[in-house]
Amino acid sequence: MISTIVVVGGGQAGAQAIDTLRREGFTGRLLLIGDEPELPYQRPPLSKKYLSGELTADRLPFRHRAFYEEHRVELRLGLQAVALDPGARRVELADGEVLSYDRLLLALGSSVRRLICPGADLPGVHYLRTVADVMLIRAAIKPGRRAVIIGGGYIGLETAATCRYMGCEVTVLELADRVMNRVVAPCVSQFFEQEHRAQGIHISCNTRVTRLEGAGCVEHVVCADGSKVAADLVIVGVGAIATTALASAAGLACDNGIIVDEYCRTSDEAIFAAGDCCNHPSLRFGRRVRIESVDNAFEQAKSAAFNLLDRKIAHDRVPWFWSDQYDCKLLIAGLSEDYDRQVLRGDPATRSFSVCYLKGSELIAVEAVNHSKDYMAGRKLIAERAQMNLAKLANPDLAIKDAVAELA
């Protein structure tokens, strides 16, 4: 009998699992452990409207405190789970409390990848992952200050846009030859580089940071070619890594995330995992994936909650992502790795276009800039493994759904 479920992790996945467990009738003891002091909150606004101050702190939490009381969820916030004993089915918290469980959900999330170079720990060097991080950055941002962003991915570019909006002089340093190179097509990178430059941001690609310098506080970022960029503050956005220390120390199988099956079960039968921290089989894409997205955290946690209650549900969704930069919305459906061809729909100069990725003639991903129609149609057709007619797909005047190949 399952009388106690412990959820470790107070992010999107942890909060969703709690919600689903109660909604699906779990009446036993339910605990939520989060290492941040805040109630579980939405992370996406952190680099955008929360950083700019347009969204106040009270609008970040998924649920008010009353929700947890009403649903008899015992909260342990601001406390890290420091040890896990799968044999004894016990988890130990930083304050020494030991909790026994019948089932455990690890929703540990991901952690920022740290910059490793001399000077990386100077005051004035920031990362952006938590509310606490944002409070520090916000305090450092003032009109006219020089913000240097290391990393031109989602977080780097969203933060660059927000810093610019708040009046900073902004430079983005990117190691690769274009921004967002791991997640979007070259024409999409180019579009966003142009948007940022038009807003007065300096973007420098093919740029390796070798050290940070400053007397007491960061003052310069030094690049491999010897150039120096003056900085009043530095924000590092060079990716995230799965948070797995608790799991791997307990002997659970980990490899770029905690290894789970399609039912979110780890190598221990009483322990499940969901969200950024886990590495799961994608039935749709035929390989193991680790996905950092709100949607995956939500859906996988929901599936995990059912499986925690022995109601088998496979997690198999088409992932989706979005990014807001200025008034441009990037919407991505599916996973674009391992494609055979890209098809551009529309003209980037119109500021509304999309790129479709095909494997053979099967649609596997869509990247849409200010084009919600192609993105939503893409989400549907990717799940359906639709085969596309290339000529029709390349015609932006035809809806994607009307470019599905006729069956022979």
């Binding site: 939405q42 996406p44 606004p45 609008r59 998924f62 649920r63 008010h64 929700f67 709100v294 949607d295 939500f298 989706w320 979005w322 807001d324 919305k329 919407l331 200010n370 084009h371 919600s372 129609k373 192609d374 993105y375 939503m376 149609a377 989400r379 549907k380 799940a383 359906e384 759904k401």
Partner: protein, 108 residues
């Protein structure tokens, strides 16, 4: 605070007092209205806060923008009176508004 009625997927009528200045989606989520998922938190990126606006109210709301139109086209069972509740701002004028939450959210 205007009183707004949500008819949940179960058929239950939920009347909430919606704070002015936030979106209809946020008001629904804060009050635990069933069936509003709002995964993207109001960025008009997920299509999971879909509602059907009561016919007489529909023309009284600000019109849908292109981004919202595109999101709704492939939402679960879109209708002429479909809206994303994250794109509706709560004002005093919404006193008495009635919306119905669809049976499902998302694309399929």
């Amino acid at each position: 605070m205007p009183r707004i009625t949500f008819i949940e997927p179960s058929g239950e009528r939920r009347v909430i007092n919606a704070p002015i200045g936030i979106s209809l989606m946020e008001a629904a989520v804060q009050n635990g209205v069933q069936g509003i998922l709002a995964l993207c938190g109001g960025a008009c990126a997920c299509g999971t806060c879909h509602v059907y606006v009561e016919a007489t109210w529909f023309p009284r709301l600000e019109a849908r923008e292109e981004m919202e139109e595109g999101m709704l086209e492939c939402a679960w069972e879109p209708r002429g009176n479909s809206r994303l509740s994250c794109q509706i701002h709560v004002t005093a004028d919404l006193e008495g508004l009635e919306v119905t939450v669809p049976q499902r959210q998302g694309v399929i």
